[in-house]
Amino acid sequence: MTAPFYVSPEQLMKDRADFARKGIARGRSVVVIRYVDGIVLVAENPSRALHKVSEIYDRIGFAAVGRYNEFENLRIAGVRLADIRGYSYDRRDVTGRSLANAYAQTLGTIFSSGAEKPYEVEIFVAEVGDDATEDQIYRLTYDGSVADVQGFGVMGGQSENVEAYLRDHYTADQDLTTALRLAATALGQDGNGGRTIPAQDLEVAVLDRTRTQPRKFKRLADRQVAEALS
């Protein structure tokens, strides 16, 4: 009889993390940038139908990278959680923080449970406030850890190149057009000179605090994106 191999907990977690990280790096990057009137979420995504950026609630947006079925599952869970909370309490009682917590617990439990494959996803939960000081962006990783994002955030794909570019060029208080141009150029950074991403391959949505409706999330049409980039 052969003795089962001993695998240390450290090694086990490392293997699971490597597995998730590899899956996430395979796709394209997603960028969130704060601008003067809110938060803009930009993904390189040629698909019209399979969204990477979506609305969760009045002030809360969602962006994800990784396996589509896994983050779509989390997105729907988030919409259900937000709607049930808003319905049973009040619309103002739905916060990005509680949603980020629920996601963190879910991802963390799946990551450390031996019975399930870790999720190969990373998520941004963005919440726009009445003024810039109340804006919140959370970044959630495959293992359930949460980070507070200041100014801008990148995940998925060649995120180091994109992040390096943003670090050099990001300024606070820019307007939407500037922020969108910055995001598009940053997403094209591939480490050897960069490429230009056509406007129709960008999926763009804003959380705009100047909107008069309670729902601050708005998708930008290809035409609007192209105008901003030209």
């Binding site: 139908a49 049930i84 909370r85 319905y87």
Partner: protein, 282 residues
Amino acid sequence: MSERGGRLDKAFGAVGSSSFTEFLASHSPQLLPGAQGVTAGQLEAAHGTTIVAATFEGGVVMGGDRRATVGNVIAQRDIQKVFATDEYSCVGIAGTAGIAVEMTRLFQVELEHYEKIEGTTLSTDGKANRLAALIRGNLGMAMQGLAVVPLFAAFDLEREAGRIFAFDVTGNKNEERTFHSVGSGSTFARGSLKKLYRQGMSESEAVTAVIQALYDAADDDTATGGPDLTRRIFPLISVITADGYRAWDEAATAQIADEVIGGRMHRPDGPVAPLTEGGESR
């Protein structure tokens, strides 16, 4: 409530329906309107009264009086009975106010939930059918005397026209092409609109017709509130066009209401319709 031990429970990730009501029924049925049920017996609750809607060239207008009654007592003088349910639709409620408001809230979330999950809005007929299902779900309560009869108005982006849907307590849905009214004063409001409505009215003409109809309803129905001149409380008017839902400015409504009242000073029964002239068809 929603998460067990922090992690989102399985129901949140379940594959299937885009309906919030169905999700609520399976996950938290206690939150559905009327979930507690009622035992037999008489109950005194606030009732909303008259809602009027009319289509016009390029849209639809809906208005409601401002009175809520409990038996013979006026419970509220400035109640709101017309609510936007999404960008292109609204609901006016008549019947038991508590249940009607809860049902409207659920309907609002239902439409928004579908839009977020599916990435597209429901068709106008789809919205009306969902509302019919909610009303049917309240049938048990209606049998106990707590009926809710909403009036649904929407701008149909495919047909580029305003549409009105009326329901009965069993959820039977009827589309009205021109105008309709529900609530205790609806008989009088409908009679009034019959004489005042004409094809191809402008937005402000339609609003005037609705205010005239509400005046007539209040004139003959004790439960419907007329214009309150001392407190300056006038009907709330909502309009839906291709540009979406818009609540009419209260000052603009007051101005039309003042004109209507001015006319009634001379002729308390309102404008005269020609006796035999039937030139216009609708």
